[in-house]
Amino acid sequence: MDKKKWLVLLIISLLLVFTCGYVLTLGSVEITYKEIGNILLHRLGLNDLQVSRTAQVIIEKVRFPRIIMALLVGSTLATAGVGMQALFQNPMADPYIIGISSSASFGAVLAFTLQLAPGYYGVFAFVLSLITASILYMFSKVGKKSSVTILLLMGIGLSALYGSITSFMIYFAGEDSFSVIVWLMGYLGDATWQKVGLASIPIILGILVINFFARDLNMFLTGEEEACYLGVNVELTKRIILGISTLIVSISVAYGGIIGFVGLVVPHIFRLLIGNDHRILLPLSSIGGAFFLLISDTVARTIIAPTEIPIGIITSATGAPFFIYLLLRRRRVML
């Protein structure tokens, strides 16, 4: 592996840290670096608090957890995207591919129909995604092996079924169905430290494990059979990547709704830039996804502050033109 690629990784990571610091100052309420510094030093017990209580709460309990949540969700989606694309050997695969987006929507709308508080949308979405993924996986087994084709097709079938029930419920939800619809468009604004705490451990571990399988995923690119000849335990790898991706993507859905585009396009952008070696593609996508979602969320909450825009709109609106530009420039060296 050449050193240049690791240098790129290091630079992006550093850039990410500085960006986090910068976006901490942005928002509908103006808070300066000096005030943030004061709040941090106060937390460390080094000086007295000189800022207002509101500023302290906003930095410590609103912006900080939200930024961390954006990083976690972005990283999850991009990493799972890389994994799914390699596993399915299909550039169209995204982290929501095996029925997660439709089962998550179904879960959220079900919670909404049952008149539960919005806090339950995420819980229902999470549980239903996991149930769906388990069903799909169980039924995609042909003999001892699981068939990727059957998995995908079953996913499409179940999605259509869920979709019809979801549409039915929204149609009869009456006047305030917008409430669940805006939630489904993606929302990171209610992140708290408690949620970050719950989400971070499985997500970070999951991303690390997927990164650990980079070499195996490289061999998958040549086809399942060839990977097997090259010494990869195909069944186990498939099971682990699928299981972990589904778990962490479901967690991200529970806390952020369905945020399109990140998992599909961030990996492709890096593929176009640095090629298909998963040993560098995976870590770059993990960090790049976090970066991309952090920027998108910042734009979503500041561009017409104090009004917010659903984050899904921003991810597509900013990512798509860049992606198309890259594609047009590099179409000759595609996959």
Binding site: L26, V57, K61, L116, Y121, I303, I304
Partner: protein, 299 residues
């Protein structure tokens, strides 16, 4: 980033302007030659009107207040909020506001169909079938009350409408008298929590708050009914928080996000969940809602 933000602000401004022009503001009235002019400035012939269908609970209620409830042969009902008065149940249903059953309407042979924002689709469909339809979408509480006289005029009998208006005016005067002697409080009216959305400048709930003597802190946020960050809510920190529609679960939701406990209104228990139809639905019942809010806060 600053450039981006300026661009965004420009965009928001253009939107506001376009929307402002597009919605226009025409009030319901009866012209000198006896035509009904609706809120889209269309003229509708008013001869021989005896069978009415209302596609909007607000219109149904207003007809009740104007004393012409008996002319209703069909109503569309609200799916989520309550329907009033109880006699509504005795009238034939033509579906709910958003999903009007056209065949049912045709079957009832109405002379006039009244509808509004959410039932617009059904109303337009019926207009194409050749029915006399009127779009009634009052933008202010004043218009809501004036409309009682228009309904009366359609049937050449404004007596009950006048009596009701006198009663409502008395209530409003009492409220006003109550406000004058008190220090004004601030409030916000949320209708969604994830994300946080509030009723903004000019909306009916905004007018309800104003008439009840409260300053709506969401007025300065761009957009009619803006979505905004919870940090802005912490910054605005109103004395009172009202919850409606899906935000009704607000009190439960607070347990999910302890941030809410930083708000003055939550700390002091100043969270109110008024009945939807007293604060959202453009009917004379708003005045009773205003009266109750005013009483509970300034008494």
């Amino acid at each position: 980033m600053r450039k981006l933000r300026r661009f965004g602000l420009g965009l928001a401004l253009i939107f506001t302007l376009v929307l402002g022009f597009a919605s226009g503001s025409f009030a319901l009235e009866i012209s000198t030659d006896g035509m009904l002019i609706d809120d889209l400035d269309r003229e509708i012939q008013m001869t021989n009107v005896s069978r009415i269908i209302s596609l909007e609970p607000a219109i149904t209620e207003s007809l009740y207040f104007s004393g012409h409830f008996d002319k209703l042969v069909g109503v569309a009902k609200a799916a989520m909020s309550g329907n009033w008065p109880a006699e509504v149940d005795e009238i034939e249903s033509v579906g709910d506001i958003q999903n009007v059953n056209v065949e049912k309407v045709v079957d009832l042979k109405p002379d006039l169909i009244l509808g509004s924002g959410m039932s617009r689709k059904g109303l337009d469909q019926l207009a194409e079938l050749g029915y006399r339809t009127a779009y009634v979408d009052p933008e202010s509480i004043e218009e809501v009350i004036d409309n009682l006289l228009v309904y009366g005029a359609i049937f050449n009998d404004t007596q009950q409408a006048e009596q009701e208006i006198a009663k409502l005016t008395d209530l409003l005067e009492e409220v006003e008298g109550n406000i004058e002697v008190k220090e004004p409080k601030t409030a916000i009216f949320l209708y969604n929590l994830k994300p946080v959305m509030a009723f903004g400048d000019g909306s009916i709930p905004d007018q309800v708050l104003a008439l009840a003597g409260l300053n709506n802190v969401a007025r300065d946020i761009a957009g009619n009914n803006p979505t905004f960050s919870i940090e802005k809510l912490l910054d605005l920190d109103p004395d009172y928080i009202f919850f409606a529609m899906r935000a009704k679960s607000g009190l439960e939701e607070m347990k999910d996000n302890p941030l809410w406990n930083e708000l003055t209104a939550v700390k002091e228990g100043h969270c109110l969940i008024p009945p939807t139809e007293h604060v959202l639905r453009p009917t004379p019942r708003l005045i009773y809602g205003i009266y109750e809010i005013n009483q509970s806060i300034y008494q």
